[in-house]
Assembly symmetry: D2
Homo-oligomer: 346 residues x 4
């Protein structure tokens, strides 16, 4: 199966990041088209990617017959029109949040997709793909902790741009917690209250920060969210689930920590080397593939441990097997590296 050809619309911070991701870390796809209202930026980016074109009009990019799917990283106000175009052309689209900037247009998009009868639109709530949220969701669905009762969420940013206002805290930060609530609890949110405590002195005049959002779901579950975007500390996103038979917290920098009867707290040890080092294997192979592809230029086809490292390990282990038998310290015998290394590039 050949790679899917993606048009990335909007190549600002987030869009450019997605372009790099697709080119370097995603298999089965390539960036075929880029588009941005800053046309120069799109042109330059396209030039750096084999087989990639810049297209000036986003609707042309969507319609292009050599585009299989669309990644929308354009500003929110343009989403409605672009999403509807994707639907008309039957192009799958991954749309960075928000779907659209108001409820009416969002609903119109939902209705149009439903009329077409095929699910083409995915929204970029990426937390649903985060290991810890996935683990927490599985813990809930597994039923061991019983019914969920409460969620306590914390969303902290070290700083925000000067133009950031409290409505943005709601629309850009809280929106993730709203989706987390819906994802974890599987219920719609039915009411919301916002508490505005005395603001952080470091917050820009007029910015209510921190905010506390209090949500209630259709099933009467309570969710509170601390939103604090001028902490000066770091990025912290935390969710605690409180359920009938125990609680669990993610985002503590220590993996999922769970408390349940009879009075234990703790987490899970990785069951095998696959879980523990799966990503390391991915990285190892990716780095090696990259080194191999660059090898004609760099003169080395290795990024990582080389033959000498294999030899050294063998020498130590051979001595180790002797030591296992004797119980005494055994000296490791190796040739001088310098006697060999002369022949090597770098």
């Amino acid at each position: 199966m050949s790679d899917s050809r993606i048009a990335v619309l909007g190549v600002g911070l987030m869009g450019a990041d997605h372009v790099a991701r697709i080119q370097s870390r995603i298999s089965g796809a390539r960036v075929a088209v880029v588009n941005d209202y800053v046309t120069d930026k799109a042109e330059q980016l396209a030039a750096s990617i084999p087989g990639c074109r810049a297209i000036v009009d986003p609707l042309d990019a969507i319609a292009d017959p050599d585009v299989d799917a669309v990644l929308l990283a354009t500003p929110g106000p343009t989403h409605e029109k672009q999403l509807l175009a994707c639907l008309e052309h039957g192009k799958p689209v991954l749309c960075e949040k928000p779907l659209t900037t108001d409820v009416e247009t969002s609903l119109a998009v939902v209705r149009r997709e439903a009329e077409l009868g095929v699910r083409l639109i995915q929204v970029g709530f990426m937390r649903r793909f985060d290991d810890e949220y996935v683990e927490l969701k599985a813990l809930i669905d597994g039923g061991e902790l019983g019914d969920p009762l409460l969620l306590h969420c914390v969303h902290r940013n070290p700083a925000v741009p000067d133009n950031f206002d409290s409505a943005m805290t709601v629309r850009d930060s809280l929106v993730h917690e709203v989706d987390v609530t819906r994802f974890l609890l599987g219920e719609e949110v039915t009411s919301i209250q916002i508490v505005t405590p005395t603001p952080n002195p470091a917050a820009r005049q007029g910015l209510f920060d921190p905010l506390i959002a209090i949500l209630r779901t259709a099933g009467g579950k309570h969710v509170d969210v601390e939103l604090f975007v001028t902490t000066g500390v770091a990025y912290e996103v935390r969710t605690e689930l409180v359920a009938e038979k125990g609680s669990a917290m993610i985002g503590l920098d220590v993996g999922l920590v769970r408390k349940s009867a009879p009075g234990h707290w703790g987490g899970t040890i990785t069951p095998s080397f696959k879980e523990r080092f799966g990503r390391a294997y991915d990285m190892e192979i990716q780095r090696w593939v990259d080194a191999v592809r660059r090898g004609g230029i760099t003169g080395t086809y290795v990024e990582g441990p080389g033959a000498w490292d294999g030899y050294a390990a063998t020498a130590v282990c051979e001595a180790g097997v002797q030591a296992l038998q004797s119980g005494q310290p055994v000296a490791v015998s190796m040739v001088e590296r310098a006697s060999i290394q002369a022949g090597w590039h770098r």
Copy 2:
């Protein structure tokens, strides 16, 4: 640049895992050839991969002009011959450990590569690509903790196959800690001692388990390693560095934990959403690309939150902005999902 064509030699547990990895998670490469001494297995696997052939003789696979690089997951005793063949054909090779099974042949391979003057052989010590080891290495190299003095390593497996003996504990488990020692400390190991305490009652008769390995490096640094392969618990790999100005531990299931003057312990909070959710973005895009590619068959081009989820989030946030102004609870207004969903596949 077109994808590198990889021959995977040996498609047992580890080799098959690498084949799946290259096909699904590695960009810039594809599996062009597979080989195994169980020829049926190789044939079947090749048939499942577009553009992939099975080749019966590993040396033919290495020599094949349509192979750019070789991944060696064959049994250790065959490595020497296969590595030398890779060198003769100038093919980059990633060799799963061990390099070879004895010191003399390992050295011969090292010498041959050095004579050719180009680094073609990489050895599969994948821990060097693990986030925690990378972080620990960076901490050492950054110099904040001063010179390393000691390493305490723990390597625990829940169970091993029936044919596993103590020499395999040394050659297959300890070998990783040997490489970790050399990687972290940047020094060769000069002596080794093995302590055999009273064995775990659960260990097979004749298996010395746990073992304690005591290494000393060229610079006089001490490394001790607990090797315990019948714990019945889980996979645990832990390294504690003790240095001049503090210590740091990885593998505690809680990220790197560091202790340093004046009497603090702790870790690092993720600085931004990129570090925190980078992998989630990768997963999100990969899942979406996969859904798009399967869409013609499944009838949905979405794996993840869809348009309704975007609409629901918009509706809640819009109510949130009102609540921000009023300070009172605001009901969230949404249409009934059932009024729309009729039109949807799945």
Copy 3:
């Protein structure tokens, strides 16, 4: 200085616990009088304590010339009268919460003490004496984290008696968090809201559990409290402070954990053996004193390591000093314990 003579009024669960505490762990005081409306219980308890009498009327106990101070563990409705009696007799009194059961009588007691011009009444908010709260208070007062902005509190009980209702959750559980708020923030609470989510199925019919309390202080600080008294798990009391320059959490079962710029989380390592083992020394000496006092009866004056343990340690260390010189394993030489132990009691 001779020991203060305490009258303990009310010797139910809490009062009896205080009697035991004063007799066994508190220096400088002894229980001289006990009182309870169940007179038999008081009589029995008094009989078990050297120099202790039971007095039937609590006001007589307060007035007794051989009572220096009063500990009030009687039911709340009796407090007003008893506190006023203590004030009239000039007796210092430690009053378990609540001060009184309604605002008017509480205020009357406050006014009466103020008229007398001497502080005699202490209220039993014992968290102010807990190491973690003390550490958190010191962290706030030290100013490193800047002004406090928010508190997130959690108060969980595994279970409550059948007669427990939601007003008791407020009066008996929330009351501690109210004092914690006032203690940590140094501000009065000016408003309170209670959210009642769908109750835990395990909660008795009619009990709103969990509850969420939302407090606001005079300075506009926000405090939220989860009150959940039917968790079935364990006793969990947690407070997170969010301040201008960082945050800190206590009650996580891992000591105070703090997050502050530049992106670090962590705790404090005990600076010296005094902090680490101070309590162990206390326990050691107390147990030894107890053993000495019981020795005439038990025939042993030791509770803990004995002379043999001292000998064994000396023997190992002496071999250790030899091993330090030789670098080789040194066998430890000791006589057979049985050759000596014959002479010993137990």
Copy 4:
């Protein structure tokens, strides 16, 4: 029962600490006699304690008819003679380690006590009274983790005095781990090896630091101990037990952490408020007793929350009960503190 009269011999750092402990935190005992070879120091200390005398000759102190028991905090070389004197006079004695400074005299003391047939000597291995060691011992004895196999111990000091040498590391630091080994495993140590890695550059010339001690017990169990006394960081004492069915670590600054099948790690949540706040209650009562005793001088009989704090809590909870019914924010109504406080001292 009247208080036991203790003679404290040696009132240097450790002895003086014990004097303070007995006077302020230990019930059932008082310091009746102090002794030190620096006679002025003993005189001064005695003068500060009601009913306490200084006695110049330690043997006179032991023999004194008004001494019930002896606490020995004198230098090790004097222990033999003083212990034998305690035995002759039938006086219970708590002897700070070491029992004596060499194996022969230690054995002589053991034999003499055995001849007398009554256990009078306790040795000051205080870790046996530390909560975490007690919990670890109970975990071992409970049998859930099966037979112990290994101990990994770490003993780190930030710094040592200039006269500290490596033999002292063995005799003063390792000695504790020797007792921990014997206490936890219930077996004698049969051999010992000491590894001397390249020393910490910060260690004084000639001091081998860190040291690694490798012990083997009668049952073939392995114990390794890192001894590092110039870390510059803090006091760290850690023990990891590795057993047949799991492992457990104490001293990580996070309580006992345990790993066991099926792949879980974790600790224990406090079961009830007694365990969680027991010490806080002790502290609360002790501070109150102290305040009561000092009240005639200070003019206040309170150290902690006073009547106002009780009133404020009552006012907030009363508003809370209203808020529970209404679901709306309720303002808290209180009088101005200034209107009352005028009457108060401090």
